[in-house]
Symmetry: C2
Subunit: 301 residues, 2 copies
């Protein structure tokens, strides 16, 4: 869990505070850690800083804008009223909460790759594939707060079943655990039986052919999905973040090749596709932008 | 070509005037027909109606918002300055022009299936597959005025080459001429060598197995593409119009089956997918809405 005091211009007023998410923590243990990391961040900021509000990002799914969260990777929170708790902790201050992938897209639009541009598609490729859309200068929330689910764009209609109930979704191919599983099915034999997509990237860099093929396949799926999304949305820029994006050219080269194969329309061809500019700060900067950028990134009450 | 005088509430003040597009007409012949159909529409409206502005829709591609049009099906217009000509013809009145598929989406959001809702995805399945997006209550134009190109969402990455330069796009499968070509390749032998997707629908209704398979394939492609788009956009409603939509259940049944197969996320499952409510009036109503709905459907100067 990470927190920081962010200034109106998007710079950090003090260092980012980080605490590990308590493994197997119950709802209140997790909440106590949120409080601790918030206190850390405020203590680390200059004394003369006045807190104007609380912005937060959390893994989905969540009810939005009510902000009851059930993050897939944090089983201790199921419909945990995170926004309401933050509001109780900070009476009188505005509190806004959104999906963490949306916070990345917002951060990159506000102060990163999309700065000064009208639109940006952001993807987070990690244990799942999430995303966020800024179009016409505003965050698109969708009818139910769920816009940006780029992980469920279909890239291979006859492809693997997806956890969503569909088939051939981007996430079913390019999410880290699916990538590692595919590599194992192809004969990848890492020394650590718990090895994940990060270890797979290490093996690919060391020349393991199956590991290279796994990243090539994930990059291909991302390139197809991004081609579909850019054709539909005519965005100025695309950012691909999350743990898997740290594989660099292993992922981005096949991604760009598949994009070039499938994005034929003139307006789509030259759209830049890059890793985030803000790096690890993107999460806290995007959460802060929910409040600090007027209502550009917040359409709810 | 069609024109009508549309009231502020979206109803027609007089009947819709229609004139055939002159085949092989040069740029000025075509423009003279525009003038004639506009005069027809004004003459058919009550005398006390005051014209507040001119809204227009035209096939793409076009420069936007400048409005120089090069409609694929009207070879006589290449970079024809349609918006500027309309402005010259109606000095002092606001003139707005957008893609005709966008006008359909706008009409259906303003006064059709999307009325009172925040968002709508509209598709026009005809000689091509176009579309338009209304999200968060506003038309999404995109970085270059090209948002809504749902015809270039990839539905079968190993599929047929597309005119855009890509591969496996929705349009490469579901556009009328591609559908008719596929049926011929499978052995469809219509009595009229010029027979098109409309004749193919007639044959399908008469029980021709190849014709039924062709519409099933087009419906499947539409269902996959709409599943991708709804997952990404979280819209309230989808409208599928254009000539092919008049095939009715031949197209909509396989479309809904493929959608159900691929749209697994809770928020996506119940999204209604229907033919337009406004029928043949959608084009003129949407063009009028560019002006009559404030700036909800117009972000440019």
């Amino acid at each position: 869990m990470a927190a920081a005091v962010v200034r109106g211009d998007g710079s950090l007023a003090g260092p980012r505070a980080v605490r590990p998410t308590p493994p197997q923590g119950g709802a209140e243990t997790l909440w106590a850690t949120v409080g601790a990391v918030l206190d850390d961040a405020v203590r680390a900021a200059p004394d003369d800083v006045a807190i104007a509000g609380v912005g937060a990002g959390c893994g989905g799914p969540m009810t939005w804008p009510a902000g009851a969260v059930s993050p897939l990777n944090i089983p201790g929170w199921r419909r945990f009223p995170l926004r309401a708790r933050l509001q109780d902790r900070h009476p009188g201050l505005p509190v806004r909460l959104h999906n963490d992938a949306i916070c990345l897209a917002v951060a990159e639009h506000w102060r990163g790759r999309g700065r000064g541009r009208g639109s940006l598609l952001g993807l987070v490729v990690s244990t799942g594939v999430g995303g966020g859309l800024v179009l016409g200068g505003r965050l698109i929330d969708g009818a139910t707060g769920n816009a940006g689910h780029v992980g469920h764009v279909v890239v291979d209609p006859g492809g693997p079943d997806c956890a969503c109930g569909g088939r051939g979704c981007l996430e079913a191919i390019a999410a880290g655990p699916r990538l590692a599983r595919w590599a194992r099915e192809q004969g990848w034999r890492p020394s650590d039986p718990e090895a994940d997509a990060r270890a797979l990237a290490d093996d690919a860099r060391a020349g393991d052919a199956i590991a290279v093929a796994a990243y090539t396949r994930a990059g291909w799926a991302l390139g197809v999905a991004i081609a579909s999304a850019v054709s539909l949305l005519d965005v100025d820029a695309v950012v691909v973040g999350g743990g898997l994006s740290q594989a660099g050219p292993l992922l981005f080269e096949p991604l760009r090749a598949a994009y070039a194969d499938h994005a034929g329309l003139d307006f789509a061809r030259e759209v830049p596709i890059d890793p985030p500019l803000l790096g690890q700060e993107a999460g806290v900067v995007g959460a802060a932008a929910l409040l600090l950028a007027g209502d550009a990134y917040w359409s709810a009450g």
